[in-house]
């Protein structure tokens, strides 16, 4: 080992640093999907939203020189895609899952088409905050360089948790997701609530995309997303539609994803690809343990097309 001062501590440190880096897009997409699903709709199109968000963030950041304008652009793009999903789903006899798959392909294809000229140039990237200034060990410093978007995401999770309980919008979203009859009987428009919830979900997913192109890996190319958008949708089910659990699930997933590279960095190279599959094995294992054919999912919004 290069400096030999921390030895095997490299592994947990790298896993921690990796968890923070890798989990950020998961965190944003899963929090966004959490809002959408709590209103009674599933938006599988968030994979497309993520990639469109990454492309538009990179483009705007390159053109304006401000990465934060890029983040905003990614959010707006995501909200527009969310509005498209909600708009199509509000037509009679339209299935939200089918629309989601169509939008996933649409978003990905559109992003590749519009993003062709962005592969070459370099855009301004998002800043990170150095929490490791006190240490001389380069691994510690690297692991504690934490990006600002992650901190924002960590703050959004408890805010959402609180908002679902104590704000009018939180209560309305839950009502639309649990019983559209009840919402209608109170004189609320369920379609309108779901439109806004899907737009909010798209906004967050778009920001998740901006992280990919503006921080880590930090460039725009067609191999940018490896299915984070779709995995995050599964994370929401795994997190039982609870924003705080979405946070922990994203971190666990990110940590598992960082395991392979971390082990490689200390010289464990056998089974590298197996360790890279750790997040997916983790997901499968948890799904099998927590699900049962005899009972319905606890916490699932009753109006979701998968629970009805």
């Amino acid at each position: 080992m290069a400096d030999g001062t921390i030895g095997l501590w490299t592994v947990p440190l790298a896993v921690f640093g990796g968890a923070v880096r890798v989990s950020t897009p998961f965190l944003f997409v899963s929090l966004g999907e959490c809002i959408t699903e709590r209103s009674g709709r599933i938006n599988l199109g968030l994979e497309g939203t993520l990639i469109m968000g990454a492309m538009s963030a990179y483009g705007i950041s390159y053109l304006s020189g401000s990465p934060w304008l890029g983040v905003l652009a990614a959010g707006i793009t995501g909200a527009l895609l969310g509005a498209l999903h909600a708009g199509i789903c509000s037509l009679p006899r339209v299935n939200d899952i089918a629309v989601g798959i169509a939008l996933m392909l649409f978003g990905t294809g559109l992003a590749f088409y519009l993003g062709k000229p962005l592969i070459e140039p370099t855009a301004a990237r998002l800043p990170a905050i150095d929490f490791g200034w006190w240490s001389d060990v380069p691994q510690v410093r690297a692991a504690l360089r934490i990006n600002v978007l992650f901190l924002i995401g960590v703050a959004i999770a408890p805010i959402l948790f609180w908002a679902f309980r104590t704000t009018r919008w939180g209560l309305l979203i839950r009502t639309a997701g649990e019983s559209s009859d009840a919402a209608r009987a109170m004189g609320y428009s369920v379609l309108w609530i779901r439109l806004r919830a899907t737009m909010a979900g798209g906004f967050l997913a778009g920001i998740g995309g901006s992280f990919l192109s503006l921080f880590y890996p930090g460039s725009w190319n067609e191999g940018l997303s490896s299915g984070q958008g779709i995995t995050a949708v599964a994370l929401v089910i795994f997190a039982r539609w609870n924003p705080m659990l979405c946070l922990w699930a994203s971190l666990a997933f990110g940590g598992a994803a960082a395991l392979g590279p971390a082990l490689q960095s200390v010289g464990v190279t056998s089974g590298y690809h197996l360790f890279n599959a750790a997040p997916y094995i983790l997901t499968l294992a948890i799904m099998i343990i927590t699900c049962s054919p005899k009972r319905t999912l606890t916490g699932a919004p009753a109006e979701l097309s998968i629970t009805r």
Partner: protein
């Protein structure tokens, strides 16, 4: 509330419906209907299923826009475009299906229902206000309990409290007592009656229970097939007058008398336990024997495990433990066993539980026998003309109203779907019959026919297990009555000696 400047008179509101017609495409649901509800009165709206009662109140509440005619609130014509505008006028409605959100607490549901939900809810303050409101109300509900955890009776009280909390002055109740025990029904209606007498509230109640009309209502309006069939003061009418006005000239099937001997135990349940969808125990150690030539009725408020019990018997749900025996043979609801023991099922919601909606009436009638002669040769080649012939015979015999035997069964009315299931299940020999709420939501003619068929099956020697939420139906048909509460059988009585008050007490778990 924001309706402070509304010029309507205070206290109970009167509502008049003038010459209302409502068409859905080519179908006329309401034809020139008049309704006059005096302020400060308890008004009953009677009619069979499909008579237009729900359409009428939904037009009042602004759910539907009537094709013609208008609504007068407090003597003034009002154009009510949506439920929100009806709410602003002080009109409220308690729906037959609960409109509470099951995953939320009672307090959340109450606050949510307000028109002015604050952007950020201060729960400490709201709970204090709610507690103060509840202390002025005649019945209590647990504020912090989740709605999914409270009983059906408490939910109905919650629905009514919600309307009172919203300061409604004209309240529509759609079959409010269908989920309550007789005791709970009397309690809730009695308290509402007191509020009406005090002049705070006007009530329009949709119902089909004459007992409640006679005991609580001042006036009654009766609809038949979308038309006004009669109205008047309850004091001037008898239940017979009202029934005749509801049904019109239609002839009802006469129920055969109770004859024959009670035989040997045929269907035996031993310590049967089953879970519900959430994994909680729904049926808890139920042991019961039904003899041939006997109808055993299971009474209970909906949601006490009856559904899961029937699903186990129907093979739709696995039992956790316990055994079912028919004629001494272990029974696990396979198709072979059902056929051998001549087992018949009339599940609740027949379109969902006993039919394939998109398949034809003839196919649905043939489900039990379709893979045997004469319907199939060699067990696989289907003989369509045999399907058709059998279906035509049964359609005539059971008076199923369908355009052709090839019409998809989902196009039939509820009563005719149930008649088709009846034709399939009771058309051949029957040794064991399981029926669950077989008459729920059906009209008088269908109910009379179904009751007659069930009684006839009993008289032919079948062992009948009848699960129903309708006590009158159980008392009419059963030989023996058991009460189910929280998944257990808690009380048993001979139907002829059954005491309504005592059964109601056991249904409520006391």
């Amino acid at each position: 509330m924001i309706i402070g400047e509304t010029p309507l008179p205070s206290g109970a509101l009167g509502v008049d419906v003038v010459a209302m017609t409502m068409r859905f495409g080519g179908f006329t649901a309401l034809d020139n209907v008049e309704l006059k509800v005096r302020p400060g009165s308890f008004h009953a709206l009677l009619g069979e299923n499909g008579a237009g009662k729900s359409t009428l109140v939904k037009c009042i509440m602004g759910y539907y826009r009537a094709t013609q005619g208008g609504v007068l609130v407090g003597g003034r014509e009002q154009a009510i475009a949506n439920p929100k505008e009806a709410h602003a006028l002080g009109l409220g409605m308690v729906y037959q299906h609960f409109t509470l959100v099951p995953a939320m607490t009672v307090a959340e549901n109450l606050v949510l229902a307000r028109d002015d939900v604050p952007a950020v809810v201060d729960w400490t303050k709201e709970k204090k206000l709610l507690a103060a409101f509840l202390s002025r109300m005649p019945f209590k509900v647990p504020l912090d309990a989740k709605v999914s955890d409270i009983s059906a009776g408490e939910r109905q009280k919650c629905e009514i409290l919600k309307q009172l909390y919203l300061k409604r002055r004209f309240l529509i109740l759609d079959e409010p007592t269908s989920v309550l025990t007789p005791g709970e029904a009397d309690e809730v209606l009695g308290m509402l009656r007191a509020m009406v007498v005090a002049g705070d509230l006007t009530i329009l109640m949709i119902t089909h229970k004459f007992r409640e009309v006679m005991a609580f209502a001042d006036d009654v309006t009766i609809l038949r097939r979308g038309k006004l069939a009669g109205h008047g003061r309850v004091a001037d009418l008898t239940p017979d007058d009202m029934a005749r006005t509801m049904i019109g000239a239609e002839q009802l099937t006469v129920q055969p008398p109770r004859v024959g001997e009670v035989g040997e135990p045929r269907l035996e349940l031993t310590k049967l336990t089953a879970l519900d969808d959430a994994g909680a125990i729904a049926v808890h150690g139920v042991s019961l024997a039904v003899r041939g030539g006997e109808i055993v009725g299971i009474a209970g408020v909906s949601g006490n495990g009856q559904r899961q019990l029937v699903e186990v018997l129907a093979g739709q749900r696995e039992a956790e433990s316990g055994e079912i025996h028919i004629r001494g043979d272990l029974y696990s609801a396979s198709r072979k066993e059902m056929r051998r023991h001549k087992m018949s099922l009339l599940p609740e919601e027949p379109l969902k539980n006993a039919c394939v909606g998109g398949m034809s009436v003839a196919d649905n009638i043939a489900f039990r026998e379709f893979d045997r002669a004469p319907f199939a040769s060699g067990g696989w080649w289907l003989n369509r003309s045999a399907f058709r012939k059998d279906a035509e015979r049964k359609i005539g015999l059971y008076k199923i109203k369908t355009r052709t035997p090839d019409t998809p069964i989902s196009a039939l009315s509820g009563g005719n779907v149930q008649r088709a299931v009846l034709a399939r299940e009771l058309g051949g020999e029957v040794e064991v019959l399981i029926a669950a709420n077989p008459c729920f939501g059906l009209d008088f003619a269908a109910v009379a026919q179904i009751h007659a068929e069930i009684m006839a099956a009993r008289n032919r020697g079948a062992a009948v297990l009848l699960v129903s939420e309708d006590l009158d139906e159980l008392l009419e048909l059963s030989d023996r009555l058991v009460v189910m509460f929280h998944g257990q059988l808690v009380h048993e009585a001979r139907a002829s000696e059954a005491n309504l008050t005592e059964i109601g007490r056991h249904m409520a778990g006391h």
